[in-house]
Subunit: 191 residues, 2 copies
DNA sequence: TTGTTAAAGCAAAGATATTTGCTTAAGGTT
DNA sequence: AACCTTAAGCAAATATCTTTGCTTTAACAA
């Protein structure tokens, strides 16, 4: 073999350490600790601070990574009830329940905060866009008139996130009302 | 005189110092500086760091104060064109232009960030609510059918802020489309 | 197994941030 | 103008974070 390719090694210890760090961040976020620094995270994770300094540029980079991981792995399977109204209502209700959980709120706020990469924020919104598109597609196949994907994002997703982020009340009734509203626009000619 | 009531004294030097600090924060925010600490702000303001430590609990408290001040004093007078559609369109367009300015985006993100007092966030949303209520009231007086205030907040304001906060495009056309959408719901029976 | 190497631990040095006691400046009052 | 008081400035002490060179551990390949 002429050359040795340096191999990265994600398994084993490195993986365990990363898991410990992610868990520590999650705990601290959930507890509302407001002085989240590398030394603090390291202590909670039972890991040497140097490891954090070597692996991430700064605390925000780490927070971003954890937040994306937490916010994108949603076990929620997409509703498929045979009716767009019911699909949207279930979907919106699930999202409402999900993003009002305290750690989720903190993650969301962290994602939004100044120094997080724009691409990471797009990952979040992109997931919702794909889900909405899928439900609209199915509705179209059934011959239902449906709002556009943009309308669903603007009038169902946006209000939910807006309210969470600005600490306004969010619940099932609200989610349902949003869906009712957006369905009224279904088929409205787009300029 | 049996007792001396300690008097606060907002005028003069204290006021100048506070102004210098607010200005410094505004500049640093606008420049995208990401290591905003008391020492950094103090240097920019030409003020002693101790003053900051004595006046605010931490950097976030100060940032919050400045952000609220910046976001609530909007010179925008409320549109009053004689038509709800035009009022809303002008209003939404103004807001869109306003909140997409780089410093505003940073202030918004700062407001949203984890450690800001909930009451402060309410100040922001409350202003918008009052403006919407006023326009709806006028529309009612003219006998126009109008969406509810909640609908305007959910379907016009929320999408604008959502998009800004998640780094999605916002412009006049978008604002106009939102207004068109919300007007379709005008008069829809609320559950 | 055994060797190689990426990544973690350790410890000391360096840089920043934060606190604290005291001094000085300047509004506001008499 | 002379005084009292709040708040700012200053400087030294302290705590916390961040970097760095070196050592040790343990995953992976031969």
């Amino acid at each position: 073999m002429p050359d040795r390719v340096p191999t990265s090694r994600p398994g084993g210890r490195s993986g365990r350490v990363r898991t410990a760090i992610y868990t520590a961040v999650g705990e601290l976020m959930g507890e509302g600790v407001d002085k989240i620094s590398f030394p603090v995270i390291a202590e909670r994770a039972g890991v040497n601070p140097t490891t954090l300094y070597r692996r991430w540029d700064d605390v925000n980079a780490l927070l971003e990574e954890v937040a994306v991981a937490a916010l994108t792995r949603d076990g929620e399977s997409l509703p498929d009830t045979g009716s767009l109204e019911r699909d949207l209502t279930e979907w919106a209700t699930l999202i409402a329940r999900d993003i009002t959980r305290p750690e989720r709120v903190r993650y969301l706020r962290a994602m939004v905060s100044a120094r997080v990469e724009i691409v990471s924020r797009c990952v979040l919104t992109e997931t919702r866009r794909e889900q909405a598109a899928e439900m609209v597609r199915r509705a179209g196949e059934r011959g239902e008139t449906a709002p556009t994907v943009a309308q669903i994002l603007d009038h169902v997703i946006a209000p939910l996130y807006y309210r969470v982020v600005f600490a306004l009340p969010v619940d099932h009734d609200h989610a349902q009302r949003l869906v009712g509203d957006v369905l009224v626009m279904a088929g409205r000619p787009q300029p």
